[in-house]
């Protein structure tokens, strides 16, 4: 027996794998204000600036997939049963698997940090070009369309209080050194909440340690990693304590990005009909075998059934890479998929629809009561629970009735500015927003979330509004996706600090022109 040469000989319990350049952050998308020569859509995929801002990892391959489609017309009398919902998911699945043939922009980097960009399957003509990074470029398609491209380092366009979000879901690795082997100690079994829980010393803000969770971590305490209280915490003023700080955790940070501005006529033959530009991003890392240049293509895909399935859908180049991360809808991964690698499925997350319903119910039991405690109306049916509850579901049938309203309510916009043409465009609903996991840019809107995602959108806060009852009113105005970004709301609520959960604007001004994202730091 190979005593000194078995797999144990190279096995390390601590990962020494650095694939962070594959960590996708966000995909932004909105109609360009520049309509000279026709409508254009802006799509920006951002990811970790590794090895550094402006220098991209040559072992990575990035894809932006684009599927133009018509706007879905909602039936006048819609069946909102679970059965109908699952049927809807199945319809979406069939559409993405069989009907839509996504177009693709594929980017790799060579050893000289030049980008190899390819436009694949575009009605306006496929082409490839080797371009310089960190420069504004205008590429010409075979059909003569001008495509603006920027590949390189920029300021991180996302502005949010990520530690606040992690505090709200009791995500231990943000606050503690969590051993690799303690897989159960990620999201601790403590109710998720917007308000601090009385006695939740594991996560409540510690004024003596203000940087805790902002880079500072503690050792996990030996005691039970749970909470046994029964009420929200209140301070001497009788106010609840907000788990969010409103501070920008991304301030001063850079990303690498692929930013494109493409004529709509380039990506669809029918721009007048295909008003929705669905897009999502993927990162792939080169397989080891492909790194060794002389190695011929592995016959594995012939021999192995999993690979065989891939072989039917992947081209020769992609067979040499491994999918690592996907990004479509903001917060679809972080909030709804528990950040699990196995759930990185991009547009294909219709497989996860049942999980989505159960996860939403789990979040609802946490966030719902804290919304109600503040005096706001909640869309989740938590049965008037006075405090957040930690509850998980194994049955979709059980979870669905509680989240039905959350799933099907229209996400009201604060005003009509999102719909500058005044068209009859239905408001979007969470069920449509998160399944499939794509950024669906409506070209007849401004592209503000959830009709796309503009750089200036505070989507982290807009996501939280999913749990609000959009039929309720505040100061005579119905709730809307921006309500939690309204300082007046927080001034009126029994909570401290009196701040919107996340910052209202980015640390750097966005540009009014391509590439839109601010210069890197």
């Amino acid at each position: 027996m190979a005593d000194h040469n078995d797999p144990n000989a190279v096995n390390s319990i601590f990962s020494d794998i650095d694939v962070s350049a594959a960590d996708l952050y966000d995909i932004f998308g909105f109609p360009s204000a520049d309509t000279d020569g026709g409508e254009k859509v802006v799509i920006a995929l951002t990811f970790a600036s590794v090895p550094q801002a402006g220098v991209l990892d040559p072992d990575l391959l990035y894809r932006i997939q684009i599927a133009p489609s018509r706007r879905i017309v909602r039936a006048a009398k819609e069946d909102q049963s679970l059965e109908a919902l699952l049927k809807y998911f199945d319809g979406i699945k069939q559409t993405y698997l069989k009907t839509l043939k996504p177009l693709e922009v594929r980017v790799t980097i060579d050893a000289d940090n030049r980008a190899h960009i390819r436009f694949i399957n575009f009605p306006g003509g496929s082409f490839a070009q080797v371009v310089e990074t960190n420069k504004n470029l205008t590429l010409k398609s075979p059909g003569g369309h001008a495509i603006k491209a920027y590949i390189g380092g920029r300021d991180d366009a996302f502005f949010n209080d990520l530690p606040g979000f992690f505090r709200s879901i009791n995500y231990a690795p943000q606050f503690y050194h969590v051993p690799h082997t303690m897989t159960e100690a990620r999201e601790l079994p403590i109710p998720k909440t917007f308000l601090e829980l009385e006695g939740n010393d594991l996560f409540n803000y510690d004024p003596a340690n203000p940087n805790w969770g902002h880079g500072v971590k503690k050792d996990l305490p030996p005691g039970p990693l749970t909470w046994s209280g029964n009420k929200f915490a209140k301070n001497a003023n009788g106010n609840y304590r907000f788990v969010y700080s409103g501070k920008d955790a991304q301030a001063g940070k850079n990303v690498n990005a692929i930013i494109l501005e493409m004529p709509l006529a380039y990506i669809t033959d029918a721009p007048a009909q295909n008003r929705i530009v669905n897009c999502w991003g993927e990162s792939w890392v080169r397989k080891a075998a492909n790194k060794v240049e002389t190695i011929p293509d592995d016959p594995l895909w012939i021999e192995h059934p999993h690979a065989l399935i891939d072989a039917l859908t992947l081209d020769d180049e992609l067979k040499k890479y491994k999918l690592v991360d996907t990004d479509g809808q903001a917060f679809a991964d972080a909030a709804l998929s528990e950040r699990e690698d196995s759930r990185q499925m991009g547009a294909n997350n219709f497989w996860l629809a049942p999980h989505f319903i159960k996860r939403l119910a789990h979040l609802g039991w946490g966030f719902g009561p804290s919304v109600s405690a503040l005096g706001l109306k909640c869309a989740f049916d938590h049965g008037n629970s006075p405090v957040s509850v930690h509850r998980t579901y194994s049955s979709v049938i059980e979870a669905f009735p509680l989240v039905k309203k959350v799933l099907f309510q229209e996400m009201r916009m604060p005003d009509d500015s999102w719909n500058p043409k005044g068209l009859n465009i239905p408001l979007r609903r969470p069920v449509e927003i998160f399944i499939p996991n794509v950024n669906a840019i409506d070209m007849d809107t401004t592209g503000t979330w959830p009709f796309g995602r503009r750089l200036e959108d505070q989507v982290a806060t807009r996501f939280l509004s999913v749990f609000l009852d959009m039929e309720a009113e505040f100061n005579g105005k119905k709730y809307h996706v921006e309500i939690m970004n309204n300082q007046a709301v927080w001034d009126a609520l029994p909570i401290e600090p009196k701040t919107p959960p996340n910052p209202l604007k980015n640390d750097r001004e966005f540009l009014g022109h391509f590439p839109y994202l601010a210069e890197p730091w």
Binding site: V10, S12, I17, T181
Partner: protein
Amino acid sequence: MVTASDYQAELERIETDIAEVGEQALTPPTDTEKVTKYVNGLYRRAVHTGDLDALQTAEAAIGEAIRQIHFAGDLYLLRANLAFKLHRLADVRRDLEAEPRLLACPEGLAIQADLDFQQGRYAQAREGYARIIESHRTWDSLARLAHFEAQMGNAAEADRLYLEAEDELTAKEMRSYAWVELQRGLLDLAHGRHAEAGDHYARAEQAYSGHWLVAEHQAELLGAQSRYAEAAELYERVVERVPKPELQQAFGELLTVMGEHARAQGWHEKALAAYLDSAEHGGVHYYHHLVDFYADVRKDGAEAVRWARKDIALRDNFASQAALAWAHHRNGDTQKALAGITQALSSGARSAHLLSQAAAIHRAAGRAEDADAFARTAAEINPRHRSFHVHR
């Protein structure tokens, strides 16, 4: 400009990691992240350089670290891995049981399956590997099952699994890729496919340059190809870099084949001294090398039996059973040898080496027909099985 090899570059990164936190990482009040980084750095450096003394230093540091931090599951797992390398299987079990989570996490389950394999519970081992792959299809779980299949003589299945393991590895894991290539090369070598083995080893070097482990495999292959001078030159370089006694023994055996008995003697004595020194200090890691050494280098059957019994007391599996059988054979105790080799073969394990030993033992027992059958099968598996090879 001279570019550092991949091996050297990684070693420098490990050294930097260790230096960044320093020995003071273990001085209270400790920071879990620094403690973990420090002891993991020590462990990685010891494994990377093949330095057993450094591995013992790492073990002491891990023990200290375990005392320092509350949730030491990762460190118990690290120490279980370390104990496994040193064949201290009882210590492996003890560390796994120290933290109940380890008995259920994929890494812990993998080591438990390794333990089953080492302790001769073959069905449980295979089932354990298969179960892990079902839930965590990682390169190392696939490689573990591949290794199992290779030992059981299922070379095609083993290579298929190794290939699948490679497909899971990315450009950020080239050392692991090179290691899998070495295993595929060993599979070819065990079947006499020297050219194919050479291709795998070359690919390993290309994937991860400058690793002594690759050079050592290449040296063995050169020896098997009767390219003795080249093999000796390479072995000499390897033993200068890495003073592992098993490499010194292999070099000595090559020199013996080359007729350079005086030089061989020097390396053999060096290797034996290191083996015995380890055993005197409580190490069990080299027991099986001592069996091989006494049986095949010294041809001292009694000593071989003595060490083989110690080894089999730790891990009763086909390899230790066959080693004891071979020791009995060397010692002229044919009946015991016959019983031992029969027991080893009943495991299902198949290799040209094992079968050729079975042939010799049966022949000594006067069972010519059986001996011929074993010898034929050995030759079918590897027509070149009598060429130079290393006891791993």
